[in-house]
Symmetry: C2
Subunit: 204 residues, 2 copies
């Protein structure tokens, strides 16, 4: 039995997505066979419009519909508190905490094993951005993941900014706290998390 080519092609497209294996791709494709044609057209349109309808904010490089995103064009946000994240989803997650500063989206993480260096990310743009506002007090919060690559990226950016000539009186660089997640059990926490939690202890 030959599976019809249009079905095979859609299965292949789904298989290229992360976390979707051959079985799931099949299931999704056959599920879509029961969709009305106009729904499939809508799905297809939203795929095509994904990149056509979005650009990167020219200030923070987050995804946006306009040249400047809604955060960067909001005059009530604290422009001298710049939170650095590796991707837009991280910015959306932090936005939910009520953070009032602005963002800088790197669009990736330094990962030498996968040939991703600082040149592939919006790292240089961060330096330019910080230098352009050097007459104010600036805080750069490094909120990359707490994985090995995330720590390395944070370290690289911190070093780069320090070497740009801005003193500690003007430029403050911080890193999000690493410790036990809220509701976490000390008993089950790993060694590194626990030692980070101790190092980062605060007055009580």
């Amino acid at each position: 039995m030959k599976i019809p080519t249009p079905i095979l092609k859609l299965i292949e497209s789904f298989e290229r997505l992360p976390g979707i294996g051959p079985k799931t791709a099949q299931r999704l494709t056959f599920y879509l066979l029961h969709f009305p044609e106009e729904e499939l057209q809508k799905f297809a349109d939203s795929l095509v419009n994904l990149k056509k309808g979005t650009k990167l904010c020219e200030v923070c490089h987050n995804v946006s519909e306009n040249n400047m995103c809604s955060v960067c064009s909001d005059s009530s946000r604290e422009k001298n508190v710049i939170l650095v994240v590796s991707n837009p989803l991280d910015a959306f997650a932090i936005e939910k905490t009520g953070f009032k500063g602005v963002y800088h989206v790197l669009h990736g993480i330094i990962d030498p094993l996968n040939n991703i260096g600082p040149e592939e990310l919006f790292v240089r743009e961060l330096k330019d951005r910080v230098l352009a506002m050097s007459d104010e007090h600036v805080e750069v919060i490094l909120a990359t993941n707490t994985s090995m690559e995330g720590e390395a990226t944070a370290m690289y950016i911190s070093k780069m900014l320090r070497e740009s000539g801005l003193g500690e009186d003007i430029l403050k660089i911080s890193r999000i706290a690493r410790g036990l997640p809220v509701g976490g059990d000390i008993e089950y926490a790993d060694d590194i998390t626990l030692s980070r939690a101790l190092d980062g202890r605060s007055q009580f």
Copy 2:
């Protein structure tokens, strides 16, 4: 922060798929942001072509590129052994066992709780198909799932075919065996499966 509309729309499209929740839909959408535009276009094209490029075989109602599918138009298949499945994926799964007969795809299962009756499925077409070949010996193998709905559908079809006036000498109706899956543990099998396995025991 406002998530750009083109992104929201694609997230919504993904969320309509089975087994894809809001978080996964977000992750897939942001992953696709890094795809080149021509890849997105290809994905979109395969969605649109899914229904435009396929039809249902006029004999067995399986998905096919032509009016008659590759199985029904293959003269080496045993046309008088008709295996009834509820959807195309089941037919593809059974095809891998080397089954040499033909299929009949119902495109669903009788499920009164969800308002799906025999009229919504290709049940009547099965009866017509069997009656049209009544001069031969015919075997109908009911291979719907062994769930409650699958059993009910098998029962309904069996009754309908029996009442169509074909005697047991012409029309043989069978049901796939229900028992322990190969490699299964008797200790962990449920009561119903075990009693089905006993009922269906074969000479050794």
